[in-house]
Amino acid sequence: MKLPAPRELLIPAVILAFGLLAPVLAPSYRGQMAFLWVMIVFALTWDLLGGQMGYNSFGNILFFGVGMYACVVVQRDLHLGYYAALFLGMGVGALLAVTVGALIGSGLLGLRGHYFAIGTLGIGIAAGELASGWDFVGGGGGMVPPLFPGAVGGRETFFYYLSFALAVVTFPVLRFLYAGRFGLAINAIRDDEDKAEAMGLRTTRYKTTAWCVSAFFLGLMGGVVGNLVGFIDPREVAFAGSTFGVWMVLMAILGGKGTLWGPVLGAAIFHVTKELFWTYLLGWQRVALGLLIVVIVVFFPRGILGWARERWPERFGQRVDEPASEAGR
């Protein structure tokens, strides 16, 4: 693979430096900062399906919740050391999420368009309701992950760096996937699935793979967030369809779906806005968020980078044909 030019490495380097130094510079905001990286992973993994493949899922939160529950169950029931149990749990969570994705993938991914959107919405909520009735995982009361063994306040720092690391790994993996044959295939599915299939692409296999990649990272992130929050509620934290589940869609759309950097940008802007709402509009923050969703979707359906790409297509590496009148002269 060709290495990117030094100029293109500037922005990632700045982001990396910011991410590494942030907890030192602003220690009281570690929790919120950790959630910034969580949000970026949410938006990136949603965009893999929604933006690049054209399958708009409302149910990706399912994998997040599955990963979270699996991780905490491993931490609770296998009597290992804290870190061993945590990392084993994250791995189990990711594997379980991928398995779930592969199992339901062939059924749900055959649905197109809005049927897929509503079907995934249903499966995300059904999972939350099932979890809140299942006593093995604490039922409606939820679960509490084991106590962090380190110093007071060490927990936030540790999970901050863990979620940061996950975001840092997710981005290049997706970038690598988009750059190759896989990226072309899923873009072809987005543009015209019937034609892609007629050209000999095994569309179901590609779609399921894409869903499993998304599920893998969300499953890992579930384990991290479960421990970061310190309390797992089936409907409000793990399978939070009406918060995280919608936000991941919204962030990708705000930044510009189908672009590489769009979800990152959208997640950052959305997260800051959301935290401001929580600080200054306490009590009405959720109303303001609902309003924000409507405004973004109705007025900026193409998103920031989508708008920029339309404005300056040549900067996004698209060849622009000269107008015919100039070419003829």
Binding site: N56, F58, G107, L108, G110, L111, R112, G113, H114, Y115, A117, I118, G119, L121, G122, I123, I125, A126, E129, L130, S132, G133, G140, S242, V246, V249, L250, I253, G283, W284, R286, V287, L289, G290, L291, I293, V294, V297, V298, F299, P301
Partner: protein, 299 residues
């Protein structure tokens, strides 16, 4: 599974569940018919459907608090919700009508969250109900009981649905709505103001949801978070029945009411919501596989 055995031991219990299910089903049918109307005419799936039901319920509740009998509250709730639906169309919905379907789903999902949180902020999260003061009918020597309000609500739901259908068949605006649903472009060429038709359609949908919500507030309870299950039920009923099939909608709604009642009894009330959403996924996947055999897919 304890309850399943109970069900076989006492057949009258099955009859009870069946009756309750049928009586609930008519109320589901109202919201579902509204969804089918908006979907068929405007090509838009309204995810805020359940929130309109919820607001209709609150309208009936506050009218009841003001001393108006809930049954009289039903038409008032319908009129109030018609105005709200009209306003929602004029402010938000008209911008997404001719857009990509996903954008309209997401926009109405945003509306649903907005309305739900507004209701939570304004009315509080408490569970409310509008007492109608009806008694209970006892049949078969006390083996089966029906609260009269459910019967009244069933009749009122059928009446409201019939009124909407007559409006669509007979009135000038109803004709315009049906023409637009057949071919919006041709309707525009023939001089129909389709924008006005869409506003009416969305308003009528809101009104029918409002009536159904008022019946819900009389028969059961209303709270700010009851919306999404109603949306999902409506969606399920519509994909089972198809667009523009009134008797299909009614049959599917009654069937869903019965199925839900039995599931709630057998699995326990805490799994009833899981059953609704799970059933949605099962129905969608079943439809997808049965169509895939003919190399077709749901459109």
């Amino acid at each position: 599974m304890e309850n399943l055995r109970l069900l076989f031991a006492a057949p009258s219990l099955s009859l009870q569940l069946l009756l309750d299910g049928v009586l609930i089903g008519a109320i589901f049918a109202l919201a579902a018919y509204g969804m089918a109307l908006v979907w068929g005419v405007m090509g838009l799936i309204n995810v805020a459907q359940g929130e309109l039901v919820m607001l209709g319920g609150y309208a009936a509740y506050f009218l009841y608090r003001a001393g108006i009998h809930p049954l009289l509250g039903v038409p008032v709730a319908a009129i109030l919700l018609f105005i709200l639906g009209w306003a929602l169309y004029r402010v938000v919905v008209f911008r997404v009508v001719d857009k990509d379907l996903f954008i309209s789903i997401l926009a109405t999902y945003g509306l649903s969250i907005l309305l739900q949180q507004l209701a939570n902020g304004l009315f509080g999260a408490n569970v409310r109900t509008a007492e109608s003061g009806f008694g209970t009918l006892v049949l078969l020597d006390g083996a089966v009981t029906i609260s009269e309000i459910k019967l009244v609500a069933f009749a009122a739901a059928l009446l409201a649905g019939a009124a909407l259908i007559v409006f669509l068949k007979r009135s000038r605006m109803g004709q315009a709505i049906r023409a637009t649903s057949q071919n919006a472009r041709a309707a525009r060429v023939m001089g129909i103001d389709t924008d006005r038709v869409y506003a009416w359609t969305f308003g009528l949908n809101a009104a029918i949801c409002g009536a159904s919500g008022a019946l819900v507030a009389m028969t059961w309870i209303v709270h700010p978070y009851l919306g999404l299950p109603y949306t999902v039920r409506s969606f399920m009923i519509v994909i089972l029945a198809g667009l523009g099939n009134v008797f299909g909608v009614l049959a599917a709604a009654l069937g869903l009411g019965v199925a839900e009642n039995f599931a709630g009894f057998v699995l326990g009330a805490e799994y009833q919501a899981a059953f609704i959403f799970g059933l949605l996924v099962v129905i969608l996947v079943w439809r997808r596989f049965s169509l895939a055999r003919q190399r077709r897919y749901l459109t």
